[in-house]
Amino acid sequence: MRIRTAGVVAVLGLALAASGCGDSGSDKPAADESAKATGGKLVIWADDKRTAALKPFAEEFGKENGVTVEVQAVSKDLQTNFVTASQQGSGPDVVVGAHDWIGNLVQNGAIDPVQLPAEQKAGFNETAIKAVTFNGQVYGVPYATENVALIRNTELAPEAPKTIEDLVATGKKLKAEKKASEILCLQSGQNGDAYHIYPLYTSGGGYLFGTAANGDYDPKDLGVGKPESIAAFQKIAKLGEKGEGALKRSITGENSIATFTGKKCAFLVSGPWAVADAKKANIAYDISPVPGFAGGKEAQPFVGVQAFYVAAKGKNKALAQEFVTNYVTKPELAVALYKAEPRPPALTAAFDQVKGEDADLAKFSEAGKNGQVLPAIPAMAAIWDPFGKAEAAIIGGADPAKTITAAGKTIQGQIK
């Protein structure tokens, strides 16, 4: 009898689960009750923070136009979930995400190009439009840009360092005076962090991809493993654990901001997301561009862009295009999204509006002025892991020439 009871329970559970799945379709429109319209439905996927900021605007869009708008939060692996769902035909109409997803989303046929008229394009920051352009087509409507800068504790280091050597000298002095325990908080971890080390890599002369004739990055011209990249990493190695000790694998993404706010290091390389923590910890801080090596090239951070995309397999593409091209381009929405998370708006009008209230914003944007757009080509996916691990190995004392040559080979092998 026990077996039968177990079977009963299992079947019942399965039935409940199944009916739950079946019902969820009809439950969804609860997101916006006010728009019990005859019109279509627009489904937007975004991460948690942006969902909260988007909701009031999405509802307003729905009310104005007599359509149902639903903003769903996907808190983990939004890109992968979006690609999988859109393959199965259960994806959203609009998705919000970083611009370096574009290459992968396009190769999986998950997003459509967006036709932005010239006057609308002109309203955006030029870098932002360049970032969402892939193979000569604009694939998303950008709303915010982001890049790293040098955040320093002005009590410990009143002057912004002009070169990385200045920074190391100041950091070492503070360490000798026992005012700080670390020279620089630049996250690496055991597996490296290509995003945060990039300004130093460019200052040392390295590059990732050459530029093709149409202005896009050219995956055939890989800079990792070339003599320039080896020279850059030789300079970085001097800052590593066997050298100055400014770069350490023990500083990770989890502890770098906390170490800075705990006043254990005077300099932090991070983005706008770190500012909230610095404010909370009551740290007197200032923001300046990440300095380069003395006599080296400019230190160029990566510039990333957050954008809205129209799903290729959405059920309501026309409405999605309407929302993305005509509604997202309004400065009000950009300002609201900025308030949800302080990243500089990509829309020039919105940026000017918030610039006055927030001095940090202008400083971040200044630090990203000479930045390089994070490559969106699918080949970029092959860079992150090997590049980061090579960085970590070199910081730990491995031979730069050997390590970077091997990393270059691995990356080359993965680019199809």
Partner: protein
């Protein structure tokens, strides 16, 4: 990932052998057939079969819609079979066995078969859908605005019912103020006197002979609007949202005659290559959008011949065994030692000790793994700071390996302690007392009596624990992430298990390669299955000896 994460073994999964030996309770068939039908029994039967029917109907509609006739047939046969089985009074054993078998097929056999079939394809990023999907994606991605063409203000209209009538685009040129009507037949000019144009938005707000759709109405006919393309001399007018239209042209088009994609601007062609599921140009350039094709044994060949995969394979395999045996063995030894200590009648306050010892098991292992990772940090970690060490735990091959086994030991010993305590209590004290009467030392009586009896009870759990640890993704991904990596090989680290290595292949930063990952999992499946089969055979022998 439904298995408990921290416990190196999961009791419910451990294949117990008792039911097999005892078999089903032998009940006389005639007695069963004459058993009275109770009201509860009848209600339960009706409700359950009703649910089965409900699920079948719910599942049938999507299958009909997608025209999966074979799947629909399987569904119908299964449902009919279930009804027959439970409505008839015969086939008593099948009534017990069928639910379990169905679940076994749905949750074990099917995933294994699906994984196996994926291993023979190139399924992954860039090769997810069908060839038709890829062609649509290539063509839509190449639609460009015709240079110098007009951007129209768009109003959606119909000559019939707003919900069903065929659609027309009413277009106004914001510069010349000319107005047009466009449908699939082409564009024709409208008389300015017949239409009203809003001075604010530049859109047409009324037109003779047309019913205008507001955005709400239009949005419910989204597919028809996207599909409506008004042909022009240079390309076609397409909607861009619901209020604007542009003249665009697909630069790339698929030509079935040559099975290739042609670019009308550059004249370049990409021919379909069914072996790799991509469009390839003469110079070797591939279009990004590919499709899923069968690649035969290519993935297996890659696993066996790619130096990056097969080179470190045996090293990884050896470490994988060391990790699984080490984690299981050490947790067992420690758990059993504590259980023995607390089992001693001279021990006081055992309940308090037991409670404290269970704590690591009660904490969520995800969080614990992350905390342990931070405790091993060279500069800021608790371990180095507390003991005044300067060990680069996750930086050295052996220190990292020791570290992950230590973490597993901490997470896993409470489980072993629990099961060992239970098994010890089942061993009659008379046995050990008898050995001591015979003059055996405590160690001798432990070796000769307690341990063998313990092992009889715990061997299946140890095997389950081994199989679990062999594929313990969390233990590695949340701590070392497989590292440290050799400077010249970023794909395979010193603490990588086969499964974490597979995970990196399948979902790693370089893009998903499900086909290759499925192939590696088949290898892992074969290894774990072999090890388990051998172990079970050995324990059965052992059991025969002691029972």
């Amino acid at each position: 990932m439904s298995a408990p994460v921290s416990g190196p073994g999961s009791a419910p999964q451990a294949p117990g052998r008792e039911p097999v030996r005892r078999g089903l309770p032998r009940m006389s068939r005639t007695a069963r057939q004459h058993a009275p039908i109770t009201a509860t029994g009848l209600v339960v039967k009706v409700v359950l079969l009703g649910l089965v029917a409900g699920i079948a109907i719910w599942a049938a509609f999507p299958l009909i819609e997608a025209e999966h006739w074979l799947a629909l047939g399987v569904l119908a046969v299964t449902t009919a079979g279930l009804f027959y089985l439970y409505l008839s009074r015969r086939h008593i054993p099948a009534k017990y066995l069928v639910p379990g078998t169905l679940f076994l097929i749905a949750f074990q056999v099917f995933p294994v078969l699906y994984t196996a079939s994926t291993a023979f394809t190139n399924f992954g990023d860039g090769h997810r859908g069908s060839k038709d999907d890829a062609i649509v994606a290539v063509q839509t991605a190449s639609v460009k605005q015709v240079p110098g063409s007009t951007e129209y203000n768009l109003t959606i209209a119909t000559t019939g019912d707003p919900a069903t009538g065929s659609l027309t685009f009413l277009l106004s040129d914001p510069k010349s103020k000319e107005v047009f009507a466009g449908d699939a037949d082409g564009l024709r000019k409208l008389d300015a006197a017949d239409v009203e144009v809003s001075s604010l938005s530049g859109k047409i707000t009324a037109a003779d002979g047309y019913t205008l759709l507001n955005i709400g109405q239009a949005s419910s006919r989204s597919d028809a609007i996207t599909a409506l393309i008004v042909p022009t001399d240079d390309g076609a007018i397409r909607s861009n949202g619901l209020t604007r239209a542009y003249e665009g042209k697909a630069i790339r088009a698929y030509d079935a005659a040559c099975d290739c994609v042609k670019d009308s601007e550059t004249g370049k062609t990409w021919t379909a290559d069914e072996d790799s599921g991509s469009f390839v140009a003469a110079d070797g350039e591939r279009l990004a959008q590919g499709w899923k094709v069968g690649v035969g044994l290519k993935n297996f060949a890659t696993v066996l011949t790619d130096r990056n995969i097969s080179g470190p394979f045996f090293g990884t395999l050896a470490w994988n065994f060391a990790f699984a045996i080490g984690s299981t063995g050490l947790t067992f030894l420690l758990g059993m030692a504590i259980a023995l200590a607390l089992h001693s009648p001279r021990m006081r306050g055992t309940n308090l000790y037991r409670m404290v010892l269970i704590l690591p098991y009660a904490m969520p292992s995800f969080a614990m793994l992350l905390i342990w990772r931070d405790m091993f940090n060279t500069d800021f970690g608790l371990l180095n700071n507390l003991f005044g060490l300067d060990v680069d735990w996750f930086g050295g091959n052996w220190s990292a390996r020791i570290a992950v086994v230590l973490v597993q030991l901490w997470l896993g010993y409470p489980y072993m302690f629990l099961v060992a305590t239970g098994a010890l209590q089942a061993i009659p004290r008379e046995l050990t007392e008898a050995t001591s009467v015979d003059g055996a030392s405590p160690w001798q009586s432990f070796r000769a009596v307690t341990l063998p009896l313990l092992l009889v009870a715990l061997s299946p759990l140890l095997i389950a624990s081994f199989a679990f640890n062999f594929n313990n993704v969390n233990a590695i991904l949340f701590t070392t992430e497989g590292g440290p990596f050799a400077p010249d090989n970023p794909t395979n680290g010193a603490t990588d298990l086969l499964i974490t290595y597979t995970y990196r292949l399948a979902f790693g930063a370089q893009g998903a390669e499900f086909g290759l990952a499925a192939t590696v999992s088949i290898f892992i499946f074969a290894i774990v299955a072999t090890v388990s089969a051998i172990s079970f055979r050995r324990t059965r022998k052992q059991e025969e000896v002691y029972s």
